[in-house]
Amino acid sequence: MGLTEFGHFALISAFVLSLIQSVVPLIGTARHNMQLMLVGPAAAISAAVACVIAFGALVTSFIRSDFSVALVANHSHSAKPLIYKISGTWGNHEGSLLLWILILVIYGAVLAMSGRTMPALLKARILAVQGMITSGFLAFSLFTSNPFTRLANAPIDGKGLNPILQDPGLAIHPPMLYLGYVGLSIAFAFAVAGLIGGDVDRLWAKWMRPWIMAAWCALTLGIALGSWWAYYELGWGGWWFWDPVENASLMPWLAATALLHSAIVVEKRGQLKSWTVLLAILAFSLSLVGTFIVRSGLLTSVHSFASDPARGVFILGILLVAVGIPLLLYAWRGPQLMSVADFNLKSREGALIANNMLLVVATAIVLLGTFYPLGLEMITGARITVGPPYFDATFNPVMGILVVIMVIGPVMAWRRGATPRAKTTLLAASVLAIIAGVIGVALLQDIAIGAVGAIMLIAWLAIGIATDIWTQLKPLQRGGLAARWHRLPTEVLGMWIAHFGIVVFLLGATGDGLFRSEQVVRAKPGEVVTIAGRDVTLVRVFERQGPNFQALTAELEYKDAASGKFIARLMPEKRVYTAERQTTTEAAIRPRLGGDDYAVLGDGDDRIGYSLRLYYKPLISWIWGGGALMAAGGLVAMIGRRRQSAVTAPLPNSVARDTA
């Protein structure tokens, strides 16, 4: 009973602590008062503890099915399995907002506890900015979206959760995504703190990088999980719909990828400082824009919460302050960060600038496509749709050019020219890309030009990476392989893994996109359909009762068409959830490395037959495998750095040794 009120009190305490965290350390920096500056870490850690308590209280209410709490009554049900009761905590606007806040304060607390080498001034400013963001979101929660409101008369049972959201993928997709979105707030805080203090330099970039990496990895995984979940759960067979909310997650990812790469240039060469600061501000701003899209009810989408435009006004307010003021600061103080460009365009810096430019152009395209319908409606009242065909025509080519640059960049030298191994790599990649294209045209009759292009791009990237590895490790050269391996910076290893992840992703997207098989039939029990070398028998269709639904299930037997050997049994079904009176389609999927068998049951009966849609999707799981590899590459690069900086001797000792 009192737990909810205690949670509410904890949330209010967190709000007060965040306000303190926003103001006091900044006063400390102005007055060079160390004690005031140290309030920052203290407030950050205490706020985190308070939020953990608050979140814990909410989760407990869900687990206990305490229907006196309005949120639990509206979004939960006693018949739900426990794991979905827990994940139901963030399956709604108020709860997911609290999760967002929780992750925000935990990031702040971790920063407070780490970063011992960071100068106090910078750290104080970063924590202050972090505190301001946290205060804004806590205010949003407490004043407009309080998760702890009670109902005067508790109902006997709750209204249940949307059955589509009762899935393990959903349990982890929002938390992972938020780890990414929110993690970008640290980079944002670094940028704003740097603008305030004017101390943006190579060390600043070095401290910032792990935070960018962590957020980027989480965001990559979060997006991949969301796409994977949509494929498995929605029964639509697709993995990306250019839905406004999906775009809302893609835009920060694109900006974060650009930021990741430009921070390298700042750290290694002290260049592109003002550009990196801008990207850091933009990446988190795009996260905030994403929040706005999802929670304001402006754009209809499968993902948006049942939202309240009044809340949208509050978010817009947060946006104006959190994005407008830093951008103003950037306009004012950014020019001071500019430095002489002392490199040739034909260099690694040049390639990284091209990478950034293309990623930002891609982000701008997605932003334009997402907001144009709204803008047009405001100006002329006309309603248009900007759907997948638009993005395919505009976004894909830009990404295609980026794939080309991805092989050129790593073999360029800093400042000017190409490294000696560039010739080998580029030649090998070009030749094999052309060969792959020729093979594609020869093997597959009436293949589209686009498909040939895709195959050539994949070959270019794959061979480019492989040749780069080969020329750097020189495995055939006698002796010294171990030494060359150890001398390799772990970041390069991470880059190879992450870029290879893109190859894997492209193979998956192309395999399914261009080579899938489809059979749409109406079949009676006993009939056989052939697809992709398999004979599929509709054995029977029956009804079954699930924990909170009733289902019509089809039993499909897959046998190899040539040998008659049994492959698998797939059971697609249509479910009716009793509490919500909602019907969902559960596709039956048999995932394999080579491709997925995918079956969907439509309507019908034993007399006229049942509508069946069977698909074979080659390599589709490589899409998410590629995403996982990309995140793994980022993780390797992130962990490796810490190990390396421990190995490298710190500056003072080496100076002392020299003069001893």
């Binding site: 701003s285 304001s296 402006l298 951008l327 306009a331 001071q336 405001m378």
Partner: protein
């Protein structure tokens, strides 16, 4: 120390543009002047589609709209399986005293339509049947109920998707009717 470069203001200006669009859209949604879930009709100002439909009462006879020219008309697409249609029945009943209403049974069975009319009242002076929805497509119907206001010359002047509520009638329909006098 202070260098001024106008290009550095571009991100701020772009952001403010976006914020203005968002703000206007929010204001529109809050005031009710825009509804992201409703689609405006593109046939406003165009002549009403001339798709002949069989009458509910007599399949051989045809419902032709141009027979009723010379007076303002409401055309209401409804169905027995449509819950909001039941909700708007009293409003339609009330309106039928002021303006002639033609009903079009959309993708329905005649016996079900008859039962619906018996249960919820019949405000229509003529009822057509659109069994397969093709006529509705000519009008740009995407759901039921939908109501169209036709002026004496046969042009569509206004379309409402969703049930007619008192608010919609007083704030929108009455104004449109007044403009026609």
């Amino acid at each position: 120390m202070n260098r001024f470069r106008p290009t550095f203001f571009i991100p701020l200006i772009a952001f403010l543009g976006l914020a203005i669009i968002g703000g206007l859209a929010l204001q529109g949604t809050l005031s009710g002047s825009r509804n992201p879930n409703q689609l405006p009709s593109v046939l406003i100002g165009k002549p009403a589609p001339d798709v002949p439909l069989p009458l509910l009462q007599d399949v051989q006879a045809e419902l032709a709209l141009d027979a009723y020219r010379g007076q303002p008309l409401l055309v209401n697409f409804f169905a027995s399986w449509c819950a909001p249609c039941r909700a708007e029945a009293p409003a339609l009943e009330h309106l039928s005293n002021q303006i002639s209403i033609i009903g079009i049974a959309y993708k329905d069975r005649p016996q079900d339509t008859q039962k619906f009319l018996q249960q919820y009242g019949n405000p229509f002076f003529a009822i057509g049947r659109d069994d397969d929805g093709r006529a509705g497509m000519a009008w740009g119907v995407y759901g039921v109920p939908e109501t169209y206001l036709i002026d004496p010359s046969g042009q569509i002047k206004w379309r409402h998707a969703g049930p007619l509520t008192r608010h919609v009638i007083t704030s929108q329909l009455m104004q449109k009717l007044a403009e026609m006098q």
